[in-house]
Amino acid sequence: MSKLGDLGAKLYRGEVGYDFVGKRFLWYGVSILITITAIVALAVQGLNMGIEFKGGAVFTTPKTTVSVAHATESAEKASGHDAIVQQLGNGGLRIQISGLDTDDAASVKKQLGTDLKVDAAQINADLVGPSWGEEIANKAWTGLGVFMVLVVIYLAIAFEWRMAVAALIALIHDLTITVGVYALVGFEVTPGTVIGLLTILGYSLYDTVVVFDGLKEGSKDITKQTRYTFSEIANRSINGTLVRSINTTVVALLPVAGLLFIGGGFLGAGMLNDISLSLFVGLAAGAYSSIFIATPLVVDLKEREPAMKALTKRVLAKRASAAAKGEDAEGADGDDTPQVVAQGGQGRRRR
């Protein structure tokens, strides 16, 4: 562990570092590839919408000895619709029947009780019409829109509009990846998934904000020095906050992983599982995008500014003249990864 601590120290001092910004086009490429894959998967395979969106019934039975195959058969016979049966951790069964409407549900429930040799009164019946899922989805879209507008405004005020735009793109990127994974793997989309997806909104941005905060601090008074260009300072910031980002992501993922494990392993399916799965995928995507996409995007936007262009020119000119002088240039700063801390106005304290 102290290895990571050492790494943290080295990252902090800039002794080691990965050139996130310099190689940004590689990562943009990776992201575009993933996004295209996600869109293709979505178009070709589509999402596996749960009962809540299609309408139907979910019956949960108490412990039963009847086999899954047998239960499927009897459920389909009783309802006349397709049925999906899952074994639950407690020995019970979860039977999903799509297309079943409320009127028939009672009789199907009774029939299931007889077939599965359990008390029908002990069977939990959850009947859903297609409108419920639709409503959730509609509200989710509304929520997504409202949140994006608000958060862009907030980030534009707290940081600047370029960061707000970059954060927004990173956010859309995360959502696309998450939805793409769902399409690709064929996980069932339920209202729980939608909840998880909406939660990613806040979470994915949490990481991004932490990185941006470092960047904002690092690039303070940037025009008053001629040592580094904006992109170098940005890269330095990412590296400086890398350990923090990794730690926050790991710590955020651990409880979600616990949920996923328990939700998936013990209960088989249900709300817990749905929420945690989409959270897990989204969180991982969020951590990636905050480091590889969001900050490089800010750099791209920022480097277009005349002030930053001028700075780059000055920095390069200075380096050129230093190189011309010959000595002393190699070790210090020059052209490998910038090594100097840009934290907290290093200009003043340098000696």
């Binding site: 902090y12 409320t102 009672a106 949140f147 958060v151 923090r244 710590v251 616990g258």
Partner: protein, 604 residues
């Protein structure tokens, strides 16, 4: 309390860590005490965890309005029912449409189920209808007591003054009354009813006017001067129905108002005081949808309960018109009946035209009855009528299992986080763990108290939210700890490092927590049902995270920085400068570069 940053001093509140700790300690003790005092030691569980009642309502297609059951009307109905149910203090009640014509109302255990069912079930269509006749609800009494409304009624319709009023006859039903006079039964029944009809020598000016507004009424043409007997069989029928109606019998009450179109006159039952009364009512003049708002309030001047009503613009016009007409009449025809689902819930009398869209009903209300009527008026205007299709009680067994699974998941998640923190941060982890514990205590007590306070119910997504929040809370500590370590790497000793790191960490924590909170708030506002529980929990824990970091973690850190274990940078403290790679206070050469690296000398 972490004071706002003053000037450029990065110090914050380090001077008084004791005070912040005292505040949070007091808060914890107070919340815990409050929890035990109110006996709310566990959070109220949602329907998916504790079981509860699920009501299925089916929209009835009204005769003559085949298209009424549509999406818009269903959504309006859901909104109204939701407001009504949650108006009971039953939070976490879910109202959803299901399929084309069903509405599901889920009511968690522990709330007044019967009351909720009543509110949900009886909510239907609300109309204001003019009163044409009134009688005691008891079966046709042999004694010819005129207009028998017994003393119970607060309105002046009680007396038998019905006899001599001519105008009432202009109402559609009036034209029919002559015919009914033939039936002996009718005579015995109600003087009040008969009275207007019999002597009517055709009403005065009001007549023509009336003819206009009793719009769709087929019998609008009937008030011709000549009271053609039984010209309208439907009205004769109404008369007979009125005579035989026995409002003390439930089945008859239910049957009385069934299937009546708003534009037709009707007979209806209702309670006046404690007794049943029955009415003949004219066509609906104002619909419940015309009522914008209504509530039971106490009239300060008179010291009695009244119900105030506010109408929509359209409703105000209609109401002004009907009251204008009614005011000219005598009892009981100066009254209008408020009919909810075929039953008269109130029949106030009118003494003047009420224009301007505001009105109040007074007389004989208790607080309960005023508020009930206010509720019914404001929320009763369902565009559809519903019948209770099924009421299912959800078993709690499954929910209990899910809760258990959720708690196990939470425990595992917490354990993983603790292990990670311990391995990575060593001594510092204890601060984080205790902070998490404080956060957990606050969350739990607040949730328990909110169960009573605002009807918060812990459902499965809320449990999920709480588990996810472990990560959010731990994130804040990491941000702070990493900052401290960065300061130490710059060669500072622990105490200044703790203080210098704080303002920066504080800003990061506030900004990112604000984003989290924004997400939770948006999620809470735009979503429904279960999702809200999740969003609420996330928002609550985010706020608590800020409180804990400011009032607990930071002050504790300040205090611990004074201990030898931490300040000396013990290897197990997690703050060992050597391990962190701090630079010695003086310049040193790196990478064997003979020249003092000009750039990275950062020692303060």
């Amino acid at each position: 309390m972490a004071a706002p940053k003053k000037g450029r001093r990065p110090t914050g509140a380090q001077g008084r860590p004791g005070r912040a700790l005292a505040i949070i300690l007091i808060a914890m003790v107070a919340l815990t005490a409050g929890m035990f005092l109110t006996k709310q030691t566990t959070p109220r569980l949602g329907i998916d965890l504790a079981g509860g009642t699920s009501i299925t309502l089916k929209a009835k297609s009204e005769p003559g309005k085949p298209d009424a059951v549509n999406e818009t009307n269903m959504n309006t109905a859901v909104g109204i029912i939701e407001r009504r149910v949650n108006g009971l203090g039953v939070s976490e009640a879910e109202v959803q449409t299901q399929g084309r014509d069903h509405i599901i109302v889920n009511i968690p255990k522990g709330t007044n189920e019967q009351q909720a069912r009543d509110q949900v079930g009886t909510t239907a269509q609300l109309y204001f209808r003019p009163v044409l006749a009134f009688a005691d609800g008891a079966p046709a009494a042999p004694e010819p007591k005129p207009s028998t409304s017994t003393g119970a009624s607060p309105s002046p319709s009680a007396s038998g003054s019905g006899a001599p009023k001519p105008e009432g006859s202009s109402k559609p039903s009036a034209s029919a009354t002559p015919s009914s006079s033939a039936t002996s039964q009718g005579r015995v029944l109600s003087e009040a009813l008969k009275a207007p009809g019999t002597p009517t020598p055709s009403p005065s000016a009001s007549e023509s006017k009336k003819a206009d507004d009793s719009k769709a009424t087929p019998s609008a043409s009937a008030p011709a001067p000549a009271p053609t007997p039984s010209a309208d069989p439907a009205l004769a029928n109404l008369q007979t129905k009125f005579a035989t109606l026995d409002c003390t019998k439930e089945d008859q009450r239910a049957a009385a108002g069934q299937g009546v179109k708003p534009e037709d006159p009707m007979v209806a039952c209702g309670q006046r005081g404690n007794q049943w009364g029955k009415w003949i009512l004219g066509p609906a003049q104002v619909a419940g949808t015309d009522v914008k708002d209504a509530k039971g309030v106490i009239d300060q001047q008179r010291g009695q309960w009244i119900v105030t009503m506010q109408f929509t613009d359209k409703g105000a016009d209609k109401f002004a018109k009907i009251t204008g007409e009614l005011a000219t009449k005598q009892s009981p025809q100066n009254q209008f009946a408020i009919v909810l689902d075929g039953e008269v819930i109130s029949d106030p009398s009118v003494s003047q035209a009420l224009t301007g869209g505001n009105a109040e009903i007074s007389g004989g209300f208790t607080q309960q009855s005023a508020q009930d009527l206010g509720n019914m008026l404001s929320y009763g205007a369902l565009p559809l009528s519903f019948q209770e299709d099924s009421v299912t009680t959800v078993t709690a067994a499954l929910g209990g299992e899910q809760l258990k699974a959720g708690l196990i998941a939470g425990a595992i998640g917490l354990a993983l986080v603790v292990i990670y923190l311990l391995v990575y941060y060593r001594g510092l982890a204890f601060i984080a763990i205790v902070s998490l514990l404080v956060s957990a205590i606050l969350t739990y007590t607040i949730m328990a108290l909110l169960g009573k306070g605002i009807g918060f119910a812990l459902n499965l997504p809320a449990v999920c939210g709480a588990i996810v929040a472990i990560g959010i809370t731990a994130d804040s500590f990491i941000v702070y700890f990493e900052r401290i370590r960065d300061e130490i790497r710059e060669g500072r000793t622990l105490r200044p490092a703790v203080e210098r790191a704080w303002p920066r960490a504080r800003r990061t924590i506030l900004v990112s927590d604000f984003v989290s909170f924004l997400a939770a708030a948006v999620l809470f506002v735009v979503t429904v049902g279960k999702v809200r529980g999740f969003a609420f929990t996330l928002g609550l824990t985010t706020l608590l995270d800020v409180a804990v970091v400011f009032l607990f973690t930071k002050p504790v850190m300040t205090l611990l920085a004074r201990t030898k274990f931490f300040s000396s940078g013990h290897p197990w403290s997690g703050l060992d400068p050597k391990r962190l790679g701090a630079k010695p206070p003086l310049r040193r050469s790196r990478r064997g570069a003979p020249v003092p690296a000009p750039v990275d000398a950062k020692e303060a």
